[in-house]
Every structure is written in structure tokens, then in C-alpha cells.
Symmetry: C2
Subunit: 447 residues, 2 copies
């Protein structure tokens, strides 16, 4: 019987395991997970933490018992894989009881995900200095909030997680300061749009300290003190949300090729540099559909989809994934913030000749009650006319609207072609010209 | 000086007039409008009528004075054009003072729109039997509601306008019955989805009488009575919303070719069968991007876009419009109802070999508060793999979500390609797999 071994039991790993068993019930599928958590919605953690009465385990999408008993997957938790032997085609590690284990494989999937980065600065290992990547992290944060009177949190970082958690903490009545060394909030975002986000954060009482280095964290009178060159911020908890990095050490140690940001390099079939070893999820790279180049954009949909594609390939179906457009959305307070494709800077770096435009439109029709502003940023290539990317901010209608330009990126549409697409219109949902069409019309004038 | 004459001063006509003047300030642009209303948001009328304190003229997008004084457009209202002379290149008609007028043209745009259909049955001309197409219609309805104690309205028809107005009347505390001869509510809609709409209407106390012929309307004790073979519905007002037809008589009378549903036939440049005469807006046909065939889908975005394209062509820019996907959305009560492309029946009629699927998904992520069901219908072609159409119903997230498949139709994507697109995900806005991706994944299994 063929053996398919999977390292990691979250989105990519369990998608692959489930689909492989559906494809080929006779395949022996073994999943080795170092923690005791499997198949949970990591992206849901900020919203779960906002509800103290709710169990973090509500985020588990499917229980381990279901995978084991109903799907026939040999799902083993507490199994830290320490070594991959590509020549001997087996993985080795240590079980919770201290005994070594070894699993031979015909096909291997590395789905080890990514981990939150903590800077090597004094005090970042103090109690109350937390990260939020795994379900265990979320559990610790909920426990900490339950057990300690947290009046104020300092968040290091100003990315998605930082801004989602700023909303969460404010909703719990906790003061929030955001601190980061680099001067720009959301550096990938066009500045008019990021200015809208900044204003919303300020309106919700979030303290913003961009361009502020952190020297370290120290204890001060039973609380924590984040020390910076010109300021010290006292708080009861620090959330470190400065970024994540791929868990690719295991892959690197056995000689697999690495890629952008040390993610594991995979081809269109999700194969690593060893033809029996696949990688998928937050640890693996992808092709960008706009540049055609490798990129590392770790997001949940890609992880699920890549898991499926690995399972199909393991079962002989020969599936290629076209790549990612970098489509992402998050909410912070009452704002929807969305992006797809490239910024003008990214486009220039990739060899395009970008033109860019920012327009302000409305979320509903002329004269329709409840309308609010919506900003669209759009980038096109002067040389080819191609649409290269879009961003959007607004209190309604940004999250799903970004998908129309995202599909256009996949099909290599020009800005002109996009401007002629037949998009939906009714007064409660937008102006006659969808804001992305208005942006395309304006962008065309510059191209 | 070249003369550009436009018949009709709503979306298509005024878009063309404004753009032509921007393109070529020296062009002499004359607009002849039979009513006194110009450039208003017809789609906004149901929402304006829902607010009795609001003036219907709030829906005017730009005042006639602005067109005349700021834009230099010769905008003449109360000018009913009665005859086009393509040989002599002029239009003739009667002014409000009874005098005949004549305007010569180099280029002519027919933007006469469409009119509401009233059946030739007894009583449809009684006071209180209304239609809703023009701003004048909306004004009459508001006046009627102000001047009469309207406790109940019978709406003949169950299309967009009927369902939007059902919401409007209910919001004003008025009882509503919907009556139509054909058995299906929204006959273009997949039945699971239209069942959701039906349930919502019933929950909001709307009486539904599908499959019910109307024999006529009569006066009965100071009210109106809609008489049907087996039932009589007493009410204070009847709204006839059984459909619209293109205002193409003027075009037909001067020998221009007509097309689907008697709309005026135009080519990709919006030219009619006479090369000096264009048609745009609700009176003109279009190519359907999925079938490549002529269709008549009168909607606001197309009217605006076609007006621009006519202006560009009149000014020598040579613009082709690719066509329409039939993307439409409306709201009825708390439901968003959206469609794009073809139904399976339409696909079969157009020579495709359709496969279809209906899925139920959620508007937000697993375990996210406030999530509601969302239904997606999707159609693909077994022969080519092409995506052919989609429909959606849900209380949130349908209106903008339809635009992703709409763009895919424009770029002739296969269902497989669509299923691999990188769409946005965050827990407040949808599941990891966007409902349209889940539909595509399921549809692929049938193809």
C-alpha cells in the first residue's frame, strides 16, 4: 500500500489528507502534527478573542476524531518531526513519550506553516508578551485576558493582525497603542487609502507610533513597559505582530531548495526540488499571476487549494496551480481594506511601466440613504495596457468588490477591457459605474 | 460646425452629450427631450418613493441648467421628435407652443429609452393604475400616495421593479399582493434560489398569486378591484410592472433595422443600419459576451457606457463596445438577488451543453457571528469547459460577489480557471472558499 505522509495538520495538511483519502481510499495517509491542535480557522482568532465567553476551540473546523474515525486518516498529534531523509524516503522525530518514531513515505507533504517573528531584543520573552499565529497562541491570549486586569495593550506592528487585534482589544474596552519602526502604516498601501485607515484608528482611540524603534520591554511596577528612544509606553500586555516567517528549517536541513523569504520552493504541481516531496500552505512559495515570478504570500485560501492539488498529484491526477494574485482583505473597526495584485512600486520593480490612480467614489447610488465614501487605487502598465493591481478602502463594499479586479488579473485583462466589464448595479449597492470601473476609466486617461 | 443631435435626455443621451462636448468643444450638440425631466436615476425611484418626505427630484443627477450653461449643450425639453429623415439628415417634431421644429444633423443618436407595458385589458386606464418607468411616473405615484389613503396595492408582475416596489410599499405600511399570469416568480431564476425569494416575500406579508391571469380592473366602492378568474383583489392602487419595451417606433418608421424584442439593432460601434445614426440605452440592442448573439438587456450601466462610446465615435475615436454579460442585482427586503450570464435553459438554447449546480454556503466564516446563508447557482458548458453564468441570493454578500463571475464571463474563463482564482477571504466577509469558488468546484465534478 502506498504511503502518503503529511507534516502539519492545519489548512494545507488536512485539506491534502482529506482529499487524498477521497481520491484514493486505499492510500495510507499519515499526518504528523507537533501540537495537539488540528484544522482550525486561524483567521478567526481576532474575532473569537473579542468574545470572552466563547471557547477558542469553536474555531476548530473538524475534530481530530472525525479525520481518524470517519475519514480513515492516521492523524497523530504531539509528533514533532525532526528530520526528513529524502534518500531513505522517511521522516523521523520524537513522540510525546520520548520514543523516537520513523515513518517511511512514497510521497511526503511538508505543511509546516509559518511562525510569528519575535525580535531578538530584551524583554520579548517576559510573561504578557504574546504573539498570535497558532491556536495555542490564541488560547494563551484568552487565558491572559481572563486572568489579568488588562487595561492597555501595546501592539508592535501595523499589519493585518495588528489592525484586526486593535479592533478586538478596543471592543473589550482595552486601550491600544500601535508601535512600529518603519514610518508607514501598511507600507504596501497607497497613502491616501492608508490615511483613511489611520484616521479610523485615531477616531477609535488607538495610539499610533509609526517610525518608532523599540529598544526593549521591561517590567515596571507590576506592568510592562515598552521602551523606545523617545518614549516609554506602559501596558499590561504586548502583542508582537511584526510579521511571520515560513517554517522551512526542516526542508532546508534535508537540502530542499528555498525561495522568497526562505519559503520552500515549489513548482506549479507543488513539488519541491525533491520529486517525492511536496510543500503547501504558509511554508511554501507560489507563482504570482501578474509577474510570473515567485512570491511568498501566505494566505488561507491558497493553503487549502494547494493541499487539494497536492492530494490530486499524489493520486496521479497531475494538477497545476496557476498561482496567486495576492488578493487579501481585512476589517479594522468599521473599515473594509482590500487589495489584489501589485502596487506601482512592486510593478516598477517587476519591470512594468506603471500608471496609477486613486479615486473616491460612493458605496451606494447618488441620493441613496446610508451611502459612504469608498476609495479605489488602481495600477496599470503603460507598455501593455495590462491591469496590474487594485486596492480599496471603505466602510462597506470593499471586501467583495476586490474580487472583480482579482479575476481580471488572473485572465490578464487590460485596464481598457476591465473598464468595459458589465458589473452589477442597484442603488443600495453602488453607483451606476462601479467604483472599480470609475478607477479604470480614470487610469486609462494616464496610460 | 458639425451637428450632433440626440433624441432623449436620460442616461445614454446626456452621457453622450456631455462626453461629446468634452471630446470636441466645437461640436454643436443638441438634445431633444419630449418630457421636462433630464438625467435622473430611474433605478433610485423605489427608494425615493419609500421616503414620503423626500422630493422625487432629488434623483436628478445633474440639472438642465448645468448642461446648458456649464457644458454648452443645447438641451431642449418638451420637444417630441415625430420623424427622422435619414436621407435629408434631419429630425422633425412639434414644440410645446405647437410650432413645428426641424434640426439637421451630421450625426444622430436615438436614446429614446423604453416604456412600461400596460396590457390591453379593461380598467388599466383607471386613475390609480400606475406604472413606474419615468420620473413623471414616480412623481405621479408619490402624489397619489400623498393624496389618497392607500391601504393596499396590487402589483401586476413579479420582476425587479415589482419586488423592489413590494419592499417600498411594505415599508410604508401598505399591504401588497403580487399577481402574474405565468406560474414562476422570476422565471429566469433557478428554483431553489427563487424559492428563497418567495419565502422572504411571504415572511414580509406579501400576498403571492403566480399563475393568475388578470381579467381586468374595475371600480368597486371607491376602491379598485383586480378581477381574476377565481379571485378578486380589492385595493387602492395598482402598479403595473409586467415589463418594458423599447421606444423604437421612430427608428422603425424611418427604416432602421430592429432586433431582439423590437430594440434598435446596433453594431459594436453603436451604429444603426444607417451609418449616420446611432442608438444607445434602453432602446438599443447589444451583443451578449457569452453567446456572441444579439440580446436586449436594458440596464443603466450599459446606457451610460454606450452613450460615451457613441460620443467617442461621433468624435472620430472609433470605439467598440464588447457587449453585455447580463449582470444585474436588486434588493427585495433583506435579500440581495444577483445574476450574470446565462441560465442552463438559455445556455441550451444558445447551443451549449450546460451543466448546472446549486450550492448553499455562508456569508461569513465558520464560527463567525452574524453569518447567514448564501445560495449560488452556476452554469458551465460540458463541451468547452466555459463558465456560462451564475446567480446568487443571500441577505449579504451577493450584490458585489456576482462581479467576479461577471468578469470571468468577459474573459471567457473556464469553470476550472475560475475555480483557481485568488479571491479575498477574511472571516467577517465569507468562508475561506468564496461561495462562487465552492460552486465552481462542485460544478467541475459534473462537467
Amino acid at each position: 500500500m502506498k504511503k502518503f505522509v503529511i507534516i502539519g495538520a492545519d489548512a494545507a495538511g488536512m485539506s491534502a489528507a482529506s482529499r487524498a483519502k477521497r481520491n484514493a481510499p486505499g492510500l495510507e495517509v499519515t499526518v504528523l502534527e507537533k501540537t495537539t491542535d488540528v484544522s482550525y480557522s486561524a483567521c478567526g482568532m481576532p474575532y473569537n478573542i473579542a468574545e470572552p465567553g466563547r471557547d477558542i476551540d469553536d474555531l476548530v473546523v473538524r475534530q481530530a476524531a472525525v479525520f481518524r474515525e470517519k475519514q480513515g486518516i492516521d492523524l497523530l498529534t504531539g509528533r514533532l518531526v525532526e528530520r526528513i531523509d529524502p534518500q531513505g524516503k522517511c521522516v523521523r522525530g520524537t513522540a510525546p513519550d520520548g520514543r523516537e518514531f520513523e515513518f517511511p513515505y512514497d510521497s511526503l507533504l511538508i505543511a509546516t506553516g509559518a511562525r510569528a517573528v519575535k525580535p531578538a531584543l530584551p524583554g520579548f520573552n517576559l510573561p504578557g508578551v504574546m504573539v498570535l499565529k497558532s491556536l495555542a497562541d490564541g488560547r494563551l491570549i484568552k487565558q491572559f485576558l481572563r486572568s489579568n486586569p488588562v487595561r492597555k495593550v501595546v501592539i508592535a506592528g501595523m499589519g493585518y493582525i495588528a489592525l484586526e487585534m486593535a479592533e478586538t482589544f478596543r471592543s473589550l474596552g482595552i486601550e491600544v497603542d500601535l508601535v512600529k519602526p518603519r514610518p508607514r502604516l501598511l507600507p504596501w498601501m497607497e497613502e491616501t487609502l492608508s490615511g483613511v485607515v489611520r484616521k479610523t484608528l485615531e477616531q477609535h482611540g488607538v495610539g499610533l507610533y509609526p517610525g518608532t524603534e523599540i529598544d526593549g520591554i521591561e517590567r515596571a511596577g507590576g506592568r510592562l513597559r515598552v521602551t523606545c528612544p523617545d518614549i516609554a509606553l506602559d501596558c499590561d500586555m504586548v502583542l508582537v505582530a511584526i510579521g511571520i516567517k515560513p517554517e522551512s528549517e526542516l526542508a532546508a536541513a534535508c537540502g530542499l531548495s528555498l525561495s522568497v523569504d526562505d519559503s520552500i520552493a515549489v513548482d506549479l504541481r507543488l513539488k519541491t526540488s525533491d520529486p517525492s516531496v511536496y510543500a503547501a500552505g504558509d511554508c511554501a512559495d507560489a507563482y504570482h499571476v501578474v509577474t510570473g515570478e515567485k512570491t511568498w504570500i501566505p494566505l488561507a485560501l491558497r493553503a487549502n487549494r494547494a493541499g487539494w492539488a497536492v492530494a490530486d498529484n499524489v493520486c496521479g491526477r497531475d494538477i497545476e496551480l496557476p498561482g496567486v494574485a495576492g488578493t487579501a482583505v481585512f476589517r479594522t473597526f468599521d473599515l473594509e481594506v482590500a487589495r489584489t495584485g501589485l502596487t506601482a512600486d512592486e510593478a516598477a520593480a517587476a519591470g512594468f511601466d506603471p500608471a496609477q490612480v486613486v479615486i473616491e467614489s460612493r458605496s451606494r447610488a447618488h441620493a441613496h440613504p446610508g451611502s459612504s465614501p469608498i476609495w479605489v487605487y488602481m495600477v496599470g502598465d503603460r507598455k501593455t495596457g495590462l491591469l496590474l493591481g487594485a486596492q480599496m478602502v471603505g466602510s462597506e463594499g470593499a471586501a467583495h468588490r476586490i474580487n472583480a479586479p482579482a479575476v481580471a488579473l488572473h485572465s490578464r485583462m487590460t485596464v481598457s477591457e476591465y473598464s468595459q466589464t458589465d458589473l452589477s448595479y442597484a442603488p443600495p449597492f453602488g453607483p451606476t459605474w462601479d467604483p472599480t470601473l470609475t478607477a479604470a476609466n480614470q487610469l486609462l486617461k494616464l496610460m
